[in-house]
């Protein structure tokens, strides 16, 4: 009997399993399918969204070899003239790229001001679609919209689009709509001269696309050019532009993928416990096969084949389900999986055959790994002993895992101290995996030690339950593995999210001390409040005090996303007092103005307190002494805060785009909001809210962002509970004869069910307590390693005691109910008669 023999045995065992336990087979397949589906769908959604971003950027950059990019407020267009005379440059296109504030709307619209003739050379795809209408672009108020923008703004050709410049509203005329295929994201196109005129940027551009003559070494040209450009203007490879979206969202995407994989690995534990229990249940049948001439390897391969069959079916179903979920998320949620940064309207499901095969293979491999240990153990069982009815060396095998368990815990603890790799907490993930595995391997030893401490109560039901658990510790460990893994991860996530929420809440409280806030549409480059506007707003009836801020984007490193510069607080002392500082030093004596950097700037750029930070402002690099590090949960790419005084001194810009307002006692905020809107020209576009409302809305957004995290964790716990339920019903069925004997000698039916409930409560309490401890340990890695390395901000550790207690009670209750239900089912199958069963 070689390969054919193994196949025959595998077929017999698999079909018998299917016949005997179809429900269990199906649930295991579904659990695996769910894991694979979650993993593959998250991957497909993110890949499709990124692909869409990539395509969009490629269309915008077009055929350029180099993109010269300056600050958002631009640089003198003389630079374009200078570059045009540079040898080796074959084509050049100046661009004014702005996020334009829209009147009567909170959103902004990305508008490109282009020289249509030059752009036709470098962005042929876009300009080609405009065709003859290109000449109409020269009208001062003409704008071409992408079809996504037209749809979002509900505008048709010939209609008017109102934009805000400063605090003035201006009208643009839509002269045409780009086809969906040309550019799928939201965009407006104008002639550059019109854009400069309309948006008060005469003589300024903020981007120049360059194509070099054939044969020019692009990289050395770019490096050389970089040294000649004014401060704050950088020469970038087009790829850098595309990679920004990838870089900014990388940590979030990887974390989401890891969460999706949790469900898959919980599925692996489910396969492990299901197969282990199934092997225990069938030990005599398997021993009979061995006695009849089936070799060890044939038996092992056949049992491994069972697990792989589960894996193949589950993974097949999973990849199909994953594609359906991904297509639905792309269609109905515009690819947004919670953080908002990956919203990609118009993104379509990108076929990824290799990745699909990879997810299929991961699913099969995970099932194979789960089935391997029980298959190997079953093959090693001496057939004579199993035929006689003994339960073999499972207990001994379970006990020997403690050394490996301890080693994994030490390894996990060590890995947690290592730095990120490429901005990703890879060692953090490895630490979590090692700690989980180590903790699971230690379950039998800890259970044995724990039960050794259990006193004899002389209550037969409880004492018998304790004895049963003590002697069948391997069974308990098997049933607990999947729930410990999923519950501890859920505990860890719950602690991490709670810690984050508490820290976020405090942070909001610190940053929102005023009664009301107003701001121009976030991220816009055109709307602002002039000094006059600020003065008028400050004198509105009912306002006791007003403070204004200026925020703008600054590019410090060409390979990274721009950081946010915030000018707030009239003096440096005010600035420091308004921020949630983590560390700071007094810099009163310093002649250099001070700056307070966010943790991201510290972690990613390596700045520290006492360093001098050069910020390109007003066409020059300005030196700021770093006097403190503050916590900023709003800006992943990093931010720096300087006083408005220092900012205005450096730039001459005294405008603002945000403000905090303190009201006189008893003033109605709605009345004040109405009066504020009437005070300035673009009042309707101003976002005005009370601090309380903004606080609440921010927390709602926070909770929504983590909803998917909770959903994935709940799925993992349900899979884990399924494992407990399988174990309970398997064990109860296997113990039918025992229940029958106990009924014979006078144990009441409810005493037996009570005994099973005690076992269920004891087992699940142990699992829950163990899971809580392990979860708390894992949460330290999540809070201090994975969160910190992924997002570059710190959070304060806080434990959500009440929710965890409630969840624990629910889980213990669910496990007890499962045990009781399984016991009832076993007793209903004529346990009395089971005492006569030999097999």
């Amino acid at each position: 009997m070689s390969r054919t023999g193994s196949y025959g045995i595998w077929r017999i065992l698999l079909l018998a399993q299917l016949r005997e336990q179809p429900g269990r087979f199906l649930v295991t397949v579904l659990a695996l399918a769910l894991g694979v589906a979650l993993g593959s769908s998250v991957y497909l959604v993110n890949t499709s969204a990124l692909n869409e971003f990539g395509l969009a950027t490629k269309r915008l950059v077009g055929e350029a070899d180099i993109v010269v990019r300056g600050p958002r407020d631009g640089f003198p267009e003389q630079l374009f003239v200078d570059l045009a005379h540079t040898p080796s440059v074959s084509a050049l296109s100046p661009v004014l790229e702005l996020e334009v504030a829209l009147s009567d709307r909170k959103e902004t619209l990305k508008v490109l001001g282009l020289d249509p003739f030059r752009a036709a050379v470098l962005q042929p795809a876009i300009m080609g679609d405009i065709g003859e209408a290109m000449f109409q672009l020269f009208d001062t108020d003409a704008i071409y919209l992408s079809s996504a923008a037209a749809q979002e703004l509900k505008l048709k050709r010939g209609e008017q689009l109102r934009v805000t410049v400063g605090s003035t509203s201006k009208a643009l005329r839509v002269i045409g709509i780009l086809s969906q295929n040309t550019y799928s994201q939201s965009l407006g196109l104008m002639d550059i001269a019109s854009a400069q005129w309309i948006f008060n940027a005469l003589g300024r551009v903020n981007r120049i696309d360059m194509r070099l003559s054939p044969g020019t070494d692009v990289n050395s040209f770019r490096r050389d050019l970089g040294t000649k450009l004014p401060p704050g203007v950088l020469a970038l490879a087009p790829q850098v532009e595309r990679d920004r979206a990838v870089t900014v969202t990388k940590a979030y995407r990887v974390n989401l993928n890891m969460l999706a994989l949790v469900a898959l690995f919980t599925g692996a534990f489910l396969v492990f416990s299901t197969q282990s229990l199934s092997v225990l249940r069938r030990r005599r049948s398997l021993a009979l096969l061995r006695a009849l001439g089936v070799t060890r390897s044939q038996l092992r391969n056949a049992l491994l084949g069972e697990g792989l069959a589960l894996g193949v079916l589950g993974s097949l179903l999973g990849v199909v389900l994953g594609m359906i979920i991904a297509a639905a998320v792309l269609k109905f949620l515009t690819a947004d999986l919670g953080n908002g940064q990956l919203r990609a309207a118009g993104a379509s499901l990108r076929s990824a055959p290799l990745q699909t095969v990879a997810f299929f293979a991961i699913g099969v491999a995970v099932a194979g790994i789960g089935a391997w240990v029980p298959a190997r153990n079953a093959a090693r069982q001496p057939p004579a002993r199993a035929l006689k009815g003994g339960d073999g060396d499972f207990k001994a095998a379970a006990r020997t895992g403690w050394r490996s368990g301890l080693a994994m815990l030490v390894l996990g603890s060590a890995l947690a101290w290592l730095p990120p790799v490429g901005g990703l907490p890879l060692f953090g993930y490895a630490a979590i995996a090692a700690l989980l595995l180590g903790a699971v391997l230690l379950v039998p030893t800890v259970t044995i030690q724990g039960l050794r401490l259990a006193p004899r109560t002389h209550r037969i039901v409880l004492d018998t339950a304790v004895s049963q658990l003590r002697e069948n510790v391997s069974l308990s460990a098997l049933s607990l593995a999947s729930i410990i893994v999923s519950f501890s991860l859920m505990v860890a996530m719950a602690i991490m999210i709670h810690s984050f929420r508490i820290s976020f809440d405090h942070w909001l409280g610190k940053l929102l001390p005023a009664d009301m806030l107003l701001r121009e549409p976030p991220g816009n480059d055109t709307a602002f409040l002039s000094k006059d506007d600020q003065a008028k707003l400050g004198t509105v009836t009912g306002i006791a005090r007003a403070e204004f801020r200026r925020t703008l984007q600054v590019l410090l490193d060409p390979t990274r996303a721009p950081i946010t510069l915030i000018a707030r607080g009239m003096s440096e002392a005010d600035t420091a007092a308004e921020l949630p500082l983590i560390r700071s030093v007094s810099a009163k004596e310093s002649p250099t103005p001070t700056a307070f950097i966010s943790e991201a700037l510290q972690d990613v750029y390596g700045y520290k307190i006492g360093d001098v930070l050069q910020i390109p402002l007003g066409g020059r690099n300005r030196a700021f002494l770093i006097a403190g590090v503050w916590r900023d949960y709003a800006r992943l790419s990093g931010s720096v805060v300087v006083s408005r005084h220092a900012y205005t001194a450096a730039t001459g810009d005294d405008s603002a785009n945000e403000g905090s307002l303190w009201l006189n006692t008893g003033t109605d905020s709605d009345t004040v909001a109405r009066m504020l809107r009437q005070t300035v020209g673009n009042g309707d576009a101003l976002e005005i809210t009370t601090s309380t409302a903004l606080h609440e809305r921010s927390l709602q957004i926070f909770d929504r962002a983590f909803a998917i995290t909770y959903a994935l964790e709940i799925i993992a716990v349900i899979i884990g509970l399924t494992g407990v339920s399988f174990a309970a019903s398997s064990t109860a069925l296997a113990r039918r004869a025992e229940f029958g004997m106990l009924r014979h000698i006078g144990m009441l039916r409810r005493q037996i069910i009570g005994m099973l409930a005690d076992e269920g409560v004891l087992t699940s309490t142990f699992g829950v307590v163990y899971g809580l401890g392990l979860g708390a340990a894992l949460s330290l890695v999540l809070v201090y390693v994975i969160n910190r390395q992924s997002f570059n901000w710190s959070i304060d550790f806080a434990v959500p005691v009440l929710p965890l207690v409630l969840l624990s009670v629910v889980l213990i209750g669910a496990a007890a109910v499962t045990a009781i239900w399984s016991g009832r089912a076993a007793l209903s199958q004529d346990a009395v008669r089971a005492v006569r069963e030999d097999w």
Binding site: D391, I460, Q468, H744, I745, G746, L748, R749, R836
Partner: protein, 227 residues
């Protein structure tokens, strides 16, 4: 005349309505000190009869009176409590709990009856000594031979001094020597406890250790002379 420990009157049982009764008109009276063997062909319902007279199953007609109580009038809990106090069981497949020690297995009926220490320990030790396994008291049953495990089962069946001991093929899984020792021990312990015993067996040799033998047939019990 001593009151009977067990009385069966007109007992019949069928597995389903559309099938004939497996037996009917079974009458039996068993008094203190009596040891009865029930023989019969496979499938005639010997074990079913045993379940009926222990209150583990209910007859279609007739009644089972155990220690003066008609089991057919009791609910499941009351029957179980009566069985706990009055009946001891010995099974062919031993059915000891593998996760308890020998001593704990034997003491199970005392635990169920709520017998406290030191009485519980004293009676358990006495029983272990009586069946000759006192040296094994702290061992687990998986470490014992078949004969030793059956002694544990006998000790468990007798430790609470039941009025009636029911033994269902107790030597079916034992070799001839162990079987003979087990039967002798069983008889001696039943007699020592001044209770009654019923032995269900296929083996005439085993049946011959009883005081009298009956054969279960479809039409009731038929007496056979003991050897």
């Amino acid at each position: 005349m001593i009151d009977p420990i067990l009385q069966l009157e007109g007992l019949s049982k069928r597995y389903s309505k559309d099938r004939p009764a497996i037996f009917e008109d079974v009458d039996l009276t068993l008094r203190s000190g009596e040891y009865l063997a029930i023989m019969g062909e496979s499938g005639v319902g010997k074990s079913t009869l045993l379940n009926l007279l222990a209150g583990l199953d209910t007859p279609d007609t007739g009644r089972v009176v155990l220690e003066g109580v008609d089991l057919t009038t009791l609910d499941d809990d009351a029957t179980t409590r009566l069985r706990r106090r009055t009946v001891g069981f010995v099974f062919q497949a031993f059915h000891v709990l593998p996760y308890l020690s020998v001593e704990q297995n034997v003491a199970l009926p005392l635990d169920l009856l709520g017998v406290a220490e030191p009485e519980r320990g004293r009676r358990t030790q006495e029983m272990l000594t009586a069946v000759g396994i006192e040296a094994l008291s702290q061992r687990h049953t998986r470490e014992l031979s078949g004969g030793e495990v059956q002694r544990v089962a006998i000790a468990r069946a007798l430790v609470h001094r039941p009025r009636l001991v029911l033994a269902d093929e107790p030597t079916g899984n034992l070799d001839a020597r162990s079987a003979a020792q087990t039967l002798t021990l069983l008889r001696a312990q039943i007699k020592a406890n001044a209770g009654a015993g019923i032995l269900i067996t296929h083996s005439r040799a085993a049946a011959d250790t009883a005081d009298r033998i009956v054969v279960l047939e479809a039409r009731g019990l038929k007496a056979l002379e003991a050897a």
